[in-house]
């Protein structure tokens, strides 16, 4: 008798469990570490409102995620339902992304009434498009900021010492040439009075980070009147690395000058060729350097660092001395998953890009907003100091190429630039021309 009771209970439990799992849609979301925590939080909030949908967020470094994503989309395996993709990889990921314009038209009932498409920043939205298809909703309007130690720059003692040394006032650099003097001033090795060990934290590793860093230095030349005259205006598909008609634009004196600007700062940075984001964030938050170019959300880590308290007096934020580089992320949905999953996934990305979500991930995680109304929101501007500066930065930022060959170009370029900065390949226009030849080869092998 007891046996039967137990059996009954067990089978009821199993049945219930099976029903629960059947009733819910389980989605796999894959994302990079900078988006990770905010999306994890959003997934939790979303699950509260939609108990029938489960979202498993996996956080993987971009170095690992990017090839994975490319391969899965090309193989049509549909392993990832939702993913954050770097908008600069649009050309290579688009073939596997659901066309959202069409999807939202067919399933307009899933769009919440208060979802305001017109509030999305036009550029952010445009970066989610490829060939006119909307293949991702903008999620993180990331751009690179110039962090500096406000307390040191405002300190009369250092201002005087700097003036004595360089004959001009100490101020936050607006060009890379200016930055060299300031970086030198704040490096102990060259100025024993320096309050910090190093002037600036830089990351020039042999990873995709290098491909981001070069435009910070090349941008000012590429976008200068001479640059525009010589290479034409910057085309959003090809970005600053290219001329307006799709030829490499860096194999000349401008590219060389950009690399020389990078090299000129290296003596004042802790291990620039061996550091990536992780290290430089750590160096600045420990008060080891006076300046640091970084994305928007490391601000949250700086803000909580004991060495940078009180943070409102110590952490200064300025536009990049050269030009910033766009690091936008979009949320995409796989083409190769069942409709039921696509609908659930679409519900989530609409949720994650709503006004409410945009404001909260900005305040909680430092995710740069994709909505105009949030940029103008006084409360947001008060909580996160860089919000006010963003509109001007967005107007001058540079872009990496978005063409399908981007992965190979990036891979070759990281190595070349690293070897040139390390002095293994001579830093000459010749070397850049050789790199450009490699590019031409990749571009023509279509």
């Amino acid at each position: 008798m007891r046996k039967y009771t137990i059996l009954m209970v067990v089978s009821v439990l199993v049945g219930l469990f099976a029903m629960m799992t059947m009733a819910s849609v389980s989605l796999s979301l894959i994302t990079s570490p900078d988006n990770g925590p905010s999306l994890q939080w959003l997934a939790q909030e979303f699950e509260k409102q939609n108990p029938d949908i489960r979202i498993n967020v996996s956080i993987v470094s971009w170095e690992t995620l990017y090839p994975r994503l490319l391969a899965d989309l090309r193989a049509k395996s549909g392993v990832y339902d939702i993913f954050t993709w770097d908008v600069m990889t649009a050309g290579s990921v688009h073939s596997g992304c659901l066309d959202l314009t069409k999807f939202f038209k067919e399933h307009s009932n899933i769009i919440p009434k208060n979802y305001d498409r017109n509030d999305l920043l036009p550029l952010a939205e445009k970066l989610g498009e490829w060939n006119g298809d909307l293949i991702g909703l903008p999620y993180y309007n990331n751009t690179m900021l110039f962090y500096y130690r406000k307390d040191l720059f405002n300190n009369p003692k250092y201002q005087k010492e700097f003036y004595d040394m360089f004959g001009r006032p100490l101020r936050v650099p607006t060009t890379w040439a200016e930055a060299v003097d300031v970086a030198k001033f704040f490096t102990k090795k060259y100025n024993s009075n320096s309050p910090t060990r190093f002037g600036i934290a830089l990351m020039f590793p042999t990873t995709h980070t290098m491909f981001y860093m070069f435009p910070l230095f090349f941008g000012p030349y590429r976008r200068s009147p001479e640059g525009i005259r010589e290479f034409g205006s910057v085309n959003i598909t090809y970005g600053d690395y290219f001329t307006s008609d799709g030829k490499p634009a860096f194999a000349n004196k401008y590219g060389l000058m950009a690399l020389e600007d990078m090299k000129a700062l290296m003596p004042y940075a802790p291990d620039p060729l061996g550091s990536d984001y992780g290290q430089t964030i750590e160096y600045f938050s420990q008060g080891m350097t006076a300046m640091c170019p970084q994305w928007t959300n490391p601000y949250m880590q700086f803000k909580s660092s004991p060495a940078l308290q009180p943070y409102s007096e110590k952490i200064g934020i300025a536009p990049m001395p050269g030009r910033s580089v766009a690091g936008n992320w979009a949320l995409g949905i796989s083409k190769y998953i069942p409709l039921e999953k696509q609908i659930a996934a679409a519900k989530f990305i609409l949720f994650a890009t709503s006004k409410w979500a945009t404001l909260h991930v900005l305040e909680k995680f430092g995710i740069a907003p994709i909505r105009e109304s949030i940029l103008d929101n006084p409360e947001a501007q008060k909580v996160i100091p860089w919000v006010k500066a963003l509109p001007t930065i967005y107007q001058t930022e540079t872009f990496r190429p978005r063409i399908p060959q981007e992965p190979q170009l990036e891979s070759i370029t990281d190595v070349y630039f690293s070897e040139m900065l390390a002095g293994k390949i001579p830093m000459t226009i010749e070397s850049l021309k050789k790199l450009a030849q490699k590019w031409e080869k990749v571009l023509s092998s279509k």
Binding site: E63, A71, P205, D271, G274, P404, Q408, S411
Partner: protein, 312 residues
């Protein structure tokens, strides 16, 4: 008469059993053979095929036959040449140091009190996955917070940007390889040391041989075959170095620490998915390791050591 009949009968029976046996033996070996055919030989043949194509997983419309272009490309590819350099460094610098320390450690602890504990402790780093070493190295060799620079500061050496210079980054990777694989050399050569007959050692001692003479004249001759085995296995395995690089330098700065295996990964998986070219690179690696494997088989003298030759 009786005996004459018995012999052919017994032979017949034995023959029958033998025939039966061999069929069973084939059955027994089948799973292993099928596994290798499906999981290694088939991919291998497929790889030979792709190495003649421009197959690229991140681009549509690829996969056409392009002949030997991928192979010619290797010679014009400075990045490939760079990874040959580093792989050679691992073979020519790390492996000899591993051999030396591995043999030396065995000699050092032989007969010391606590020999067993030392042996146990020394073997630990061999069991640790290479990835874990990578994490450890990132902390130890950090420029501003690392223990390595802290130790050096005692000697007045200014901080070294370990991952920022070709030579020091290479040092870190070689160092990790040495830490991880010296115990392997030790394990094998130490077994050789233990197998030296005690009476030979005693006899040499009675003759008044010095420690060095004892090593050269008595221990080394026995040790020789063990050293060969350890060396060749190590050489082949050194070609596979990957996880430590993946976790620390990502092959940089530039191509300084990119091994052949890592370069294949970079071309074939990370960023590119350029399967055609990666396959050609992999074939070259396979040829090199096949040459070493053949050498290994000779040195192991398989037929003898494992009694593989059929009797008679």
């Amino acid at each position: 008469m009786k005996e004459v009949v018995m012999v052919p009968e017994k032979e017949l029976k034995e023959n029958l059993i033998r025939m039966h046996d061999r069929r069973i033996a084939l059955l027994f070996i089948l799973p292993a053979v099928v596994l290798f055919l499906v999981m290694a030989i088939y991919p291998f043949i497929y790889m030979i095929y792709t190495s003649f194509t421009n197959l690229n997983l991140s681009m549509s419309g690829t996969g056409q036959f392009i002949g030997l272009s991928n192979y010619f490309e290797i010679f014009h590819d400075p990045l490939a040449m760079g990874s040959i350099t580093f792989s050679t460094m691992v073979l020519l610098i790390a492996v000899p140091i591993e051999m030396a320390i591995g043999v030396l450690f065995g000699l050092l602890i032989r007969g010391l009190k606590g020999e067993r504990i030392f042996r146990l402790l020394f073997l630990i780093s061999m069991m640790i996955p290479g990835i874990v070493f990578g994490i450890s190295a990132q902390m130890i060799f950090n420029y501003l917070f690392g223990a390595a620079n802290y130790f050096l500061s005692f000697f007045g050496v200014p901080e070294i940007a370990w991952f920022g210079h070709a030579a020091t980054a290479q040092f870190v990777i070689l160092f990790l390889d040495i830490i991880q694989w010296t115990p392997f050399i030790f394990l094998i050569t130490y077994a050789g040391l233990l197998s030296v007959p005690q009476d030979l050692i005693d006899a040499a001692r009675v003759d008044g041989a010095s420690r060095w003479q004892l090593f050269i004249n008595v221990e080394l001759p026995t040790l020789k075959s063990f050293i060969y085995i350890a060396l060749i296995i190590r050489l082949i395995d050194a070609l596979k170095i990957f996880g430590k690089i993946y976790m620390t330098t990502w092959g940089g700065p530039g191509m300084a620490t990119s091994s052949w295996s890592f370069y294949i990964y970079k071309v074939g998986v990370s960023y590119g998915w350029d399967i055609g070219y990666a396959s050609a690179l992999a074939i070259i690696l396979l040829i090199v390791s096949a040459i070493l494997v053949n050498l290994l088989i000779k040195v192991l003298n398989l037929g003898e050591t494992l009694e593989l030759k059929r009797e008679g």
